[in-house]
C-alpha cells in the first residue's frame, strides 16, 4: 500500500456510486451512442439513395431482432441525453444544485427516459 496521503482518483471497483456520478458518465456515454446513431442515419440515407432493392435489404436488417434492439437502444440513448441535457441547462441557469434536488432530478431523468422510449416506440411503430 502507498503510505502517501495524496488523494487518488476514484477506484472503479470499490467506488461508491451516486446518482450524480452515474448520470454524469451516462450522459457522456449516451452522447457517444448518439454519434453512432447519427452515423447509422447517415448510412440509412446513403442506402436510400442506392435504390429500391438495396433499401429493402436494409429494411430487413433493421427489422430483425438485432436491428430493433439497436434502434430501441438508440431511442433510449436519445431520450436520456435530451432529458439529462435539460438538467444540465437548468444547472447552467444556476438552479438545482442542492444535493437533494440533484438526486431527485437525476432519478426523474432515469425514469422518464424509459417512459419516453416506450411512448416513442408505441407512437412511431405501433408497438414492436
Amino acid at each position: 500500500m502507498n503510505d502517501s496521503k495524496n488523494p487518488i482518483s476514484p477506484h472503479l471497483q470499490i467506488y461508491r456510486w451516486h446518482v450524480s456520478s452515474l448520470l454524469s458518465i451516462t450522459h457522456r456515454i449516451s452522447g457517444i451512442i448518439n454519434l453512432f446513431a447519427l452515423i447509422l442515419i447517415f448510412f440509412w440515407l446513403l442506402i436510400l439513395s442506392f435504390g429500391e432493392s438495396n433499401y429493402e435489404t436494409f429494411l430487413l436488417m433493421i427489422n430483425s431482432f438485432f436491428g430493433k434492439f439497436i434502434l430501441i437502444g438508440f431511442t433510449w440513448s436519445m431520450c436520456f441525453q435530451i432529458l439529462s441535457g435539460i438538467r444540465h441547462l437548468v444547472w447552467d441557469l444556476g438552479y438545482g444544485f442542492e444535493i437533494k434536488t440533484a438526486n431527485i432530478s437525476g432519478v426523474i431523468v432515469i425514469i422518464f427516459s424509459l417512459v419516453l422510449t416506450t411512448t416513442f416506440w408505441i407512437f412511431a411503430r405501433g408497438f414492436i
Binding site: A37, L38, F42, Y55, E56, L59, I82, D92, R125, G126
Partner: protein, 107 residues
C-alpha cells in the same frame, strides 16, 4: 475559438439539435415499417429535406465540441489528441456535405 464562445455554441447547438433529432429519428423509425416508395415520398417535402440537412450540419458542430472535451479528458498524448481533433473536424465537415449532396440530388 475561445472557450466561452465554445461553451455557448455547445448549448445553442444542443437546443437546436434536440427537437430536430427527435423529430427526424421518430420519422425514420416510423418509415422503417414502410417501403421504399413511402421513404422517397417523405423526402419530396422540401421542408423535411432542409431540416434533415440542418440537423446534420448543426449536430456535427455539437459533436466536434463534445468530442474535443472528451479527447481533452482522456487522451494525454498531445500528438494523438491533435490527430483525433483533426479527424473529427474533417469528418464533421464531410458527412454533412455528403448528406447535403444526397438530399439535393439523389433522393
Amino acid at each position: 475559438m475561445n472557450e466561452t464562445r465554445k461553451w455557448i455554441l455547445h448549448r445553442v447547438t444542443a437546443i437546436i439539435v434536440a427537437p430536430l433529432y427527435a423529430w427526424f429519428y421518430f420519422s425514420l423509425v416510423s418509415l422503417s415499417t414502410k417501403n421504399y416508395t413511402e421513404a422517397i415520398y417523405f423526402f419530396t417535402n422540401p421542408l423535411f429535406k432542409i431540416l434533415a440537412i440542418l440537423l446534420f450540419f448543426v449536430s456535427f458542430i455539437h459533436i466536434r465540441i463534445s468530442l474535443g472535451e472528451i479527447f481533452e479528458d482522456y487522451i494525454h498524448v498531445k500528438k494523438i489528441k491533435d490527430v483525433a481533433n483533426i479527424f473529427t473536424i474533417i469528418s464533421s465537415i464531410i458527412i454533412p456535405l455528403i448528406i447535403l449532396f444526397l438530399l439535393m440530388y439523389k433522393i
